[in-house]
């Protein structure tokens, strides 16, 4: 086995396999925790959709359905490229790894831009959360809650996207600097796991917030 990069093994670990196991386990457990951060918003969605079924469906009908599909495909594709980057890293293909992560970051950034444009569009129409709500096409009680939850959920999701982009850029840098080898891929694997999680959350945001038709 070629020598590992400096600082790759920390002294408390006996073997690199152990260390990699610990790192990926930590990320998996952390993702379980992250999921529960979103849980409150999903529960609120469940309750308020039950309580205001008409308002929610009416409000949902003003969502950007088509854009929702585009955003979904963007994230799915970026996830696909991210997985390929892991395969490339495991085979020690440095440039392929960097390039694939770069593409992932590009798609993620496009996602953010489009998503923020959508926010801007809703905000201009007055579909703002809570007491700022003045969307005159829809005055049913409960409609403002739909948009409150929309901003909160997608906002929290966007925060995760931002963190994911930062992590991906960092691991691309690591790969570029040659700190990622076929034997030591942990940074790439772990950040890509995180990036998939962003996609996992979006998988449910898409039908809940973009696929609501008028009753």
């Amino acid at each position: 086995m070629p020598p590992l990069p400096k600082a790759a093994i920390q002294e408390q670990f006996g073997t690199p396999a152990r260390q990699k196991e610990a790192a990926t386990l930590a990320m998996w457990v952390f993702l379980g925790t992250e999921l529960l951060i979103f849980s409150g918003l999903f529960v609120a969605y469940g309750e308020y959709r039950y309580t205001f079924p008409v308002a929610f469906q009416m409000a949902g009908s003003y969502a950007e359905h088509g854009l929702g599909l585009v955003l979904t495909i963007l994230l799915l594709t970026s996830s696909f490229l991210a997985t390929l980057s892991v395969l490339a890293a495991r085979q020690g293909k440095r440039l392929a790894t960097v390039g694939l992560i770069g593409l992932t970051v590009a798609l993620g950034t496009l996602f953010m831009v489009l998503h923020l444009a959508e926010w801007w569009h809703h905000a201009r129409e007055g579909a703002l959360p809570g007491r700022y709500y003045h969307f005159d096409k829809l005055t049913l009680p409960g409609a403002s809650l739909f948009f409150t939850l929309f901003y909160l959920t997608t906002g929290l999701h966007m925060l995760h996207v931002t963190i994911g982009l930062a992590l991906l850029s960092w691991s691309a840098l690591q790969a570029l600097l040659g700190r990622i080898t076929a034997e030591y891929t942990t940074p790439v694997e772990v950040t890509v796991l995180y990036w998939h999680f962003v996609d996992v959350i979006w998988t449910f945001i898409f039908p809940l917030y973009y696929l609501l038709a008028r009753p």
């Binding site: 408390q12 670990f13 610990a22 386990l25 992250e34 951060i37 409150g40 959360p129």
Partner: protein, 558 residues
């Protein structure tokens, strides 16, 4: 050196040796402030946690005494109603998030669990240090927020009061959020460490029970804390921006807040109590010199509490307007979680059977703990009996109940653990006489403080009352009297421990002759990297079929 009786005893017994002070240990190998603040050593981090929670415990106790002084008379003007409301919020927030949640897992746990699994450190030492810093930041934010403008909502932050109050609640909520991040980091570290860092051959069913308790706690921390984090953020946003998520005027549901809050805060009780139970499992074995009766049952009940404890949160909401079927579901689930605690209590008691019990200070704390846990736990079952809760909900009965089960058991177990592991932490033994008397005074004082409150609850005195009808006065006076005794007991115990740091006898590696893994293979205080060679642990922790190696404490300075 002339031979002392100690020397003779050490010579007479094959497994006994005189205490020695290690030349290099984790306290003296580096001494600069920087070496403490930037350490990756789990032991130093644990000690810093202990010091921090110790300070907050004393602060929280002072707030409690101020509350008790206010309640000495029905229309007391000792503090204003606003100040009183802030005071009990301060007391609750400090005790829950700054003392009870971190005390045993982050303090004692951090110090001990790598020792117990034979590891050099935790899996992610930098994250461990980061969690301590985050905890300090959160604690600072909370304390500043409380002192500067101070929230007056109680530690439960019920909406819509919390979203409309004019006091500065946002810093406190954010402080709690930040502390939550620290809790998650600690829990993550524990889980990963137990999974990946056990010394070769140390299987799951050989782990010391304290470790199992910490592991269960970590699981709860990981699954519950994020929900609290989101909820307090939502309340903060609601408070300054009015997004309507819990605001009835905008269609929001205040009961939803209660669901989310108790989804964290009920398991949070187990975050506090499970580690306490872990300490007790260790202490009862060490001072009865017995293997625990029913290791498997304790493990099952630990995991059971961690798993089922989540789904009982609605028993805090029987009177809140929650639906009847939901109350029924939460009621029956609460009964099932009660059984896990019962299993533990019976197992500990049975462990003493045919043991060799020495009545040291930790053991006296343990007896207080047993009484408080059983009485507090059974009153918990009583409170979960839906129809009875209609009378007791939000009265002093509830206050007394959760002080018994949560505060009392955590405090006594924490003190028991602190005394038991004090030699391991600092290499010194505390003074036995004052420690045992302090233990007795603390136990008695605690019962004297909170038993009158059970009666107050039966009479119908609601909690969070700055003024109260005069017929409740005599019991309130009794309770304040008890609190004074309790404070004296804690003072004696604290002074004793602190004085022993300088004047205590050198403990040696294993002054108790304990069969716990943490006493084997390390010196007291432990070496900077714990083990010089991979430790050889016995097949089971707490095996007293042969006497474990024991050191005789001796008085000479190091």
């Amino acid at each position: 050196m002339r031979p002392s009786p100690l020397d003779e005893e050490a010579r007479a017994r094959p497994n006994v040796e005189l205490a020695r002070w290690p030349d290099v240990h984790y306290l003296n190998h580096e001494t600069s402030v920087r070496s403490w603040l930037f350490t990756h050593d789990h032991k130093r981090i644990g000690v810093m946690y202990l010091a921090t929670v110790g300070v907050f415990f004393i602060l929280g106790g002072i707030y409690a005494l101020l509350i008790r002084i206010q309640l000495l008379s029905p229309e007391s003007r000792f503090v204003s109603p606003l100040a009183y409301n802030r005071l009990f919020t301060l007391h609750g927030v400090t005790m829950v998030w700054l003392f009870m949640i971190p005390a045993i897992p982050s303090g004692l746990g951090n110090f001990l669990y790598p020792l117990m699994i034979g590891a050099k450190d935790v899996a992610m030492p930098r994250l461990n240090l980061l969690s301590l810093w985050i905890f300090w930041a959160g604690a600072l934010l909370t304390v500043i927020g409380m002192l500067w403008g101070g929230a007056d909502t109680g530690w439960t932050f019920y909406t819509p009061y919390s979203t409309t109050t004019s006091t500065a609640i946002v810093p406190v909520l954010l402080g709690v959020f930040v502390i939550g991040l620290s809790t998650i980091a600690t829990g993550l570290n524990f889980v990963v460490t137990v999974h990946t860092m056990r010394t070769p051959g140390l299987g799951w069913m050989r782990l010391p029970l304290f470790l199992w308790a910490i592991y269960g706690t970590a699981l709860i921390q990981l699954l519950a804390t994020p929900v609290l984090g989101l909820t307090v953020l939502l309340v903060s946003i609601e408070h300054f921006a009015g997004i309507g998520i819990f605001d009835p005027a905008l269609g929001g549901d205040p009961i939803l807040f209660q669901h989310l809050f108790w989804f964290y805060s009920h398991p949070a009780v187990y975050i506090m109590v499970l580690p306490a139970m872990g300490v007790i499992s260790e202490v009862v074995c060490a001072f009865s010199r017995k293997n625990v009766a029913g290791y498997r049952l304790i493990v099952i009940s630990t995991v059971g509490i961690a798993g089922v404890g989540f789904f009982t949160w609605g028993h805090h909401m029987f009177t809140s307007g929650q639906s009847i079927p939901a109350s029924g579901a939460f009621g029956i689930l609460s009964m099932f979680v009660g059984i896990f605690t019962a299993i533990k209590v019976f197992t500990w008691t049975y462990t003493m059977y045919r043991g060799a019990i020495s009545l040291r200070a930790p053991m006296i704390y343990l007896f207080g703990f047993l009484f408080l846990l059983v009485f507090g736990g059974m009153t918990g079952i009583a409170l979960a009996t839906t129809s009875l809760d209609l009378h007791w909900q939000d009265t002093y009965f509830v206050v007394a109940h959760f002080h018994y089960i949560m505060v009392g058991s955590v405090m006594l177990a924490f003190l028991a653990g602190l005394h038991y592991w004090w030699p391991k932490l600092f290499g010194k033994t505390y003074f036995e006489r004052p420690a045992t008397s302090a233990a007795a005074v603390v136990g008695f004082g605690f019962i004297a403080t909170f038993t009158p409150q059970f009666y107050l609850g039966n009479m119908g005195m609601p909690r969070r009352y700055a003024f109260y009808p005069p017929e409740f006065q005599w019991l309130n006076v009794a309770s304040t009297g008890g609190a004074t005794i309790l404070a004296i007991g804690i003072l004696i115990a604290t002074v004793n421990l602190l004085v022993s740091l300088r004047y205590g006898a050198i403990a040696g590696d294993n002054p108790w002759g304990s069969g716990g893994f943490e006493w084997m293979g390390t010196t007291s205080p432990p070496a900077p990297h714990n083990f010089t060679a991979p430790p050889q642990f016995p097949a089971q922790p707490h095996d007293y079929s042969v006497a474990p190696r024991r050191t005789l404490p001796r008085a000479s300075p190091p």
